[in-house]
Amino acid sequence: MKPSRRLAALLATPLAIVLLVGVVVPGMIFVVYSVFTFRLRQVHPGFTLDSFKAAITTAVYRTYAVNTLRIAIPVALITTVAGFALAHHIAFRAKRTKNLLLALVTISMLGSYLARVYAFRTLLGEHGVINETLISAGIINDPIGGLLFSRTAVVVAEVNLLLPLVTLLIYAGLMGIPRAMQDAGRDLGAGGFEVVRRVTLPMVGPAVLAALAFAFFLSVGDYVTPVLLGGKTSATIGIAISDQLRVTGNYALGSALSILTLLGFVLAYLLLRWSFRTAKLLPEVST
């Protein structure tokens, strides 16, 4: 069956309209807003780089950027290493439990994001499960403070949120490796760890890079977990952007901060790709 060109256009038009109205046009307006002026609590058309200047020179945004990195870098590294170990076990070691483990990881990924963030509050709070249980067991007398509302709590929760996705991304990459390659490595005398380092990793490099970048960027973009679980040192750039738009109403500055953050993503990704290439963890470029 060969539907006519007109029919195909008709079928794809609703999607094109949704994307235009929901992503492309708002994206353009948003970029334009970053060079508008903000005066008298309102955004006015014009051209100025004031918002970018403010975003770069204001000291507090630098602190926020550092806070963001101090959350996102550990989150991305921990989820990628743990996700690799998990995916590797599921792909090559687990025999009978393979399908069960895959189902568990997938179901966890599809479980409510907010319920999982909230769960850490129930666990770590001053009157949370850990403290109350330890007290009623007589192990401690006073609640351990500082479990919640700390950067560590944010990192732990975000690892919990992102681990399933990262695991599945790396798992998909691992499934693409012909089993014979690893056997060949072993036959040539490489130990288990060496096979992973010299045979498996270089072949799954693109998937690991994608997972690492994804985890990093989802962590940077998450402005809810740091608010609900973080303390004073967890104010991130995402919170700053959200506040500019929702509280202050300075759309120009919010949009300039967002654009700088997106530029940061691109730079971070290029840096990551370069380091993967240098470590020979990506296939040679064929072109």
Binding site: V23, P26, V129
Partner: protein, 274 residues
């Protein structure tokens, strides 16, 4: 010989416990008879759920979220499936541009999608309401719908459709009897994922919502105030509803995929006999 757990096996076990322990703890305390968050719990009770459903703010948010998620699933499912059909059956430069563009929302952090929508509404003087919330959700879920339905349609050999045409089926009949049955399980699965993701969406909704909060926004507002154990019951609802939706979709998909396979089996058997 006794089976000795390997190091990676132990790690995997710990990782799975880490993934599930927090939500299981919440689920248990949602049914706790006392208000204290301490193990072991003393009695089982539904009182937190009763308290919850007696709260009009919760009921309203719950209904809003169900509505938004249902509309999102239907619109995203239909729009995404129509486009997926075009992507797999037609070649044109415009179509491939639209297909690449359909993956944009996954590559942009939800925060930025929400911020862009809010900016655009400010520019166009649109007051945020449930329509803008739903639009945000549709954008968020549409890449997944397109990817799932496209993947399903690519497993179908176009020759089968040609064969149906050769056997005298008209264009519409071919779609109804061959293409649609093959697409349907993927559409149901994609719709369930859209429903689940929409029901839980918060990062975009914060920016696109007006005066009617969705369930996740209700939860956040509750968390900013003092917490009482009935929040455990809300978290249980938030966890449970998407899982049920996905579970139902999984069963439907498995049944209809099984039916297609059995159907194919009878065709093969018939061919063998003749």
């Amino acid at each position: 010989m006794k089976h000795r757990p390997s190091a990676t096996g132990v790690f995997t076990f710990i990782a799975v416990v880490f993934l599930y322990a927090p939500v299981l703890v919440v689920a248990v305390f949602a049914f706790n008879g006392s208000g204290r968050l301490s193990f072991p719990i003393d009695s089982l009770s539904f009182k937190w759920f009763q308290k919850l459903f007696a709260d009009p703010a919760f009921s309203a948010a719950f209904r809003t979220s169900l509505e938004v998620a249902t509309v999102t699933a239907i619109i995203a499912g239909v729009v995404g499936a129509l486009a997926a059909f075009a992507f797999t059956r037609m070649n044109s430069r415009t179509l491939s541009v639209v297909e690449v563009a359909s993956r944009l929302p996954v590559m942009i952090p939800p925060l930025m999608l929400g911020v862009a929508l809010l900016t655009a509404m400010d520019y166009a003087d649109i007051v945020p309401d449930l329509k803008s919330v739903t639009l945000g959700h549709i954008i968020y879920v549409i890449p997944f719908v397109v990817i799932i339905v496209v993947a399903r349609l690519r497993t179908l050999d176009p020759e089968i459709e040609l064969a149906a045409r050769d056997l005298g089926a008209g264009g519409l009949e071919t779609i109804r009897r061959i293409t649609l049955p093959i697409m349907l399980p993927a559409m149901i699965g994609a719709g369930a994922i859209a429903f689940a993701f929409s029901f839980d969406e918060l990062l975009i909704t914060t920016f696109t919502s007006g005066l009617e909060p969705t369930l996740p926004m209700y939860v956040v507002s509750r968390l900013r105030r003092t917490i009482d154990p009935s929040v455990n019951a809300v978290a249980f609802v938030m966890l449970f509803i998407p899982w049920v939706a996905l579970g139902i979709a999984y069963l439907v998909m498995r049944r209809s995929l099984g039916a297609i396979r059995r159907g194919a089996g009878t065709v093969d058997a018939g061919a063998e006999v003749s």
